[in-house]
Structure formats: structure tokens, C-alpha cells
Symmetry: C2
Subunit: 283 residues, 2 copies
């Protein structure tokens, strides 16, 4: 791992919106990530860190440019990290049919075991281990206070990473997450592609299966638009609701009338999520 | 003029962010524009209308996606209209060298008189006459309460359109405007290209010259980042300050330390501008 280099920096709401690039040992590629750092350089122990994992087709840029998160991140004193969604670059294989839902922009936050994906598609280890080390090293971050959220594929990422790493995140939320990749076309394509046909191995990448198998988080906040085109076929929040209910995990599932799957939905409710995380990270 | 057709609509902060397309008689092309409409359909006389004119290279999309204006537009009850910055499409000539600062994405809010631009590049008449007629016809808008703002080239557009149409706008502001196109490389290229070498004719498209020649607005709010790469060569807020001082126009010019020319700057201060406009539009 080499130290991150600044790609761009822009003053925003008193703090700084950075984009960095670094060499990832996990993916074997250069990876970009966006980091918002509030003004002041970190009071005492540093700022709490909120991770935001993006959805299909996104890079580190979509959330950074479209969500309007900087205003409340500044007001609440949160570092917000938005990674890319897959390895990219020369030699990195994409979807054989150039589809949007596998390969480039669609890493699904898994460590692939099938070839030709296994070499580069290690987004689980990149997000769970390598990038946090870089953040801890180079930013005024208090890594004892981390929260995680994400959108769609990134909501699935946030839920599964939190469930697999008990105690690491003091707060977990999601926007329109894929509730159960095992049980939807996006997830089935991704998991059979990256992991193969051993469905038992898929369960480490499925929030509902992880909960069934005993993994726990303290509580969850999930927003879901009712006009989301992917609601019924792909996202299926009712599966998450059932899993949480059975496991006794307090889930606040808000069905937002008339909202779709876009960043207009996310930007409308990002303030609620940032406040929810800050309340728990600063408790 | 045909009635606008919806290209997209997304629920945002309780209201709706629309993108429309319509045939423009002025430009002879299809034009797109974005409109944010707060919830409620327009109380009584309708919502006041704020115009936002974008800068070089932009379409109707940049402001709509990046500025985060919908939150306060919803809270304050403002319709916000963001037009495109030039005609586009088959047969519309661009810059001969494909530069970013002339032709496509760079209409400069003028009515061109030189060929081959004169036929399509009629952004002044499109913004001053044709598009307001469309807005009045199809949206819950109170056209007796209009404000105008813009960024960079669009800040120039906002200032000059307000100065040439006394009484139409109850509020005028700008982000990092080109203060005097006559006196900077961007403006000189655009005005010589669209208008020709008759520098007297340029004065209708120069905020400082219009003020010198007697045009007035009640007051102005201008934000300008001190880390803006275009500050000294192109934007020159000191020229606007001098012109306003001489003419007795109250100008609130805020030099924002460390901010650049990007939408990170605009999104940081858009709330201040929307509040400033709403205060005057609702007075």
C-alpha cells in the first residue's frame, strides 16, 4: 500500500472535499476514494468516520457531487469516506456482455474466488481492511467511532460489512439496500459470477442470511422510496424486515412515498441519516 | 413554440425536480430546461420564480444535480428554473477549434448577429422572452415575483438580463460572475465572435457598461471565492464594485476565503442566496 495522493481538493462548507488515489495491494490497481474532512483538523481524538458505499455504476464521485452530504457533515463534525465500487484500469476484466450490474462499477463488496475475477475483485478486503488503514494513517479520524451507510448495492455492502464485523460500527443505515442478494437477480448474477455455485458461501454476503446465521447489529435505519423501480424485483425490504423481526434487531424502515432510486431520494434524506449516525457516534 | 414535454421527473424534498424539452422558435432547436416545483401546486397566486443561469460547459443538469438547491427551494417555496447554456443538436455550429468557451455550452446569453451563429445562438431572446412565456403557461408560477442569479458566464447573464429589463426582477444575485465581458478574454472572444467588432454593440452585454450607461437594479448580492482560478484574468469583481459604487447601486460583494470556481463553492452558499431572494420575492 502506498500513501494516498491528492487528486483534487475543494473547499466545501468550511471543510475540504478531497479525492485521493492510492495503489491497492488487495485489488492490484490504483483505487480512488473521496473524503470529506470538516474544518479544524480534528478536535482532540479526531472526527468520527462515516463510510458511504455507493451503488451499481457509481464511482467515488456520485455521492460526493450529488448527495449534498457536506453541509451536515461539516455541521456535525463527521469525516465521510466514499470509496469506488470496483477495481478499474488496464487488465481488470469487466462484465463479458458489458452489462452494468457485474464487473466494473459492480464489485458488490465481495472477495471474488472465481477466475478471472479473483485477482482484482477484492472489494470486501479493500473496504474492510486496507482502506480503513489508509484513513487511520492519513486523516484526523477517530477510528473508534465509525458508522457505515450506503445505497442499493452499497446498502447491501454496508449491512453485510457491519454484520460481519461486530462492534466495529456504532451506527449502521442504508438507502434502498439490496436486502438479500441470494434472493434477487442482481445478487444471484454477482454471487454466482464472483463466488461460484456454492450457495453456502454466498451467505457471508447476504444481510438476511447473516442475521439468520446469528450476526447482529444494535439497530438499523433504512429508507426506501415507494416509487423505486427496483423495489419489488431487487431490493425487497420485506425480507430485511422479516429477518430483523425474527432476530430482534430494531429496524427503523421508512417507506418514503413517491421517491425513486436516484440521488434526489438520497439527498432528501441524507440529513436524517447523518444526524442519526452523529447521535450514535458522539454518544 | 411547442408545449414542453417532460424528460424526467424526480421527487425531491417533497417537491418535484423536472427536466423538460421543448422546441424553441428563437434557437430553432430543441431546448432542455430544469424546473424545481415545490409541493402543493402553488399557493393562491403561485410560487415566485428564481432563474439560475449556468456557466461555461454546463447544461441544465449541472446546477440541478450539484448545487443542492432543492432543499431550500422547497422550504422557501420557490420555483427554480435552470436553462441550458446554448442551442445544441444537428446543424448547430460549435467553436471552430472545439474550445470550451465559445459555441456549444457557451452561448453567453447574447443574440448573435454574425454568421454562422446568428440563426441558432439567440440565448438572450430565449431566456428573456420565450422561456418565461413557457414557464408562465405551464407551471404554478407567479411571474410578478421573479428573481435571477447565475454562475460565472451565467452570473454575467443574470446581471445583464436584470439590468436590461428594469422592474422585472425583484432580486438579483450572482456567483463568481464575469463582471465585464468587454474587459476579459472569455468575453472578448464571445462578443467578437457572436456580435462582431462593433464594440459599442457589446455594451448591451456588459454589466459594468450597462451600469455606466444608466441601467440600474435595486441591489446586488455577489459571492466570489478567493481561490477561484479565473478571478484575476476573467471575473474581476473589482470592476463591478467600481461600477456599482459610482452608480450608487448597493452591492454586497462577499469574498469567500479559499473557495474555488466549482459547485462546491456554489452549494456552500446557495442557501444564503435562496434566502436572500425569497426575502425580496415574498416582501
Amino acid at each position: 500500500m502506498t500513501r494516498p495522493q491528492i487528486v483534487s481538493q475543494n473547499k466545501s462548507f468550511g471543510g475540504t472535499q478531497y479525492v485521493y488515489r492510492h495503489r491497492s495491494a488487495e485489488t492490484g490497481t490504483d483505487m480512488r476514494f473521496a473524503v470529506y474532512v470538516p474544518a479544524g483538523g480534528g478536535p482532540g481524538r479526531g472526527f468520527p468516520v462515516l463510510w458511504y458505499l455507493s451503488g451499481l455504476t457509481c464511482t467515488e464521485e456520485n455521492f460526493t457531487v450529488k448527495a449534498g452530504a457536506q453541509r451536515m457533515a461539516s455541521a456535525l463534525g463527521l469525516i465521510v469516506v466514499a470509496p469506488d465500487t470496483s477495481p478499474r484500469g488496464e487488465g481488470v476484466p469487466g462484465d463479458p456482455q458489458n452489462a452494468y450490474d457485474f464487473g466494473l462499477g459492480a464489485g458488490f463488496y465481495v472477495d471474488a474466488v472465481r477466475e478471472p475475477w479473483a485477482k482484482n475483485y477484492r472489494m470486501r478486503s479493500y473496504i474492510e481492511r486496507e482502506l480503513p488503514e489508509a484513513i487511520a494513517l492519513d486523516f484526523p479520524a477517530d477510528m473508534t467511532r465509525q458508522g457505515i451507510t450506503g445505497h442499493s448495492m452499497g446498502g447491501h455492502g454496508a449491512l453485510t460489512i457491519a454484520l460481519r464485523n461486530p462492534g466495529r460500527f456504532k451506527s449502521v443505515s442504508a438507502f434502498a439496500p439490496i436486502s438479500s442478494p441470494i434472493d434477487c437477480p442482481w445478487g444471484q448474477k454477482a454471487l454466482s459470477g464472483y463466488i461460484g455455485e456454492d450457495r453456502q458461501a454466498w451467505r457471508a454476503y447476504d444481510a438476511c442470511a447473516l442475521i439468520e446465521d446469528g450476526a447482529r447489529v444494535a439497530e438499523l435505519l433504512v429508507d426506501q422510496g415507494t416509487a423505486d423501480n427496483f423495489l419489488k424485483e431487487q431490493l425487497k425490504p420485506e425480507l430485511l424486515r422479516e429477518a430483523c423481526a425474527k432476530a430482534g434487531i430494531p429496524l427503523t424502515l421508512r417507506l418514503q412515498e413517491g421517491y425513486d432510486h436516484s440521488y434526489y431520494f438520497i439527498s432528501t434524506f441524507i440529513e436524517d441519516h447523518l444526524r442519526w449516525h452523529a447521535q450514535r457516534l458522539n454518544a
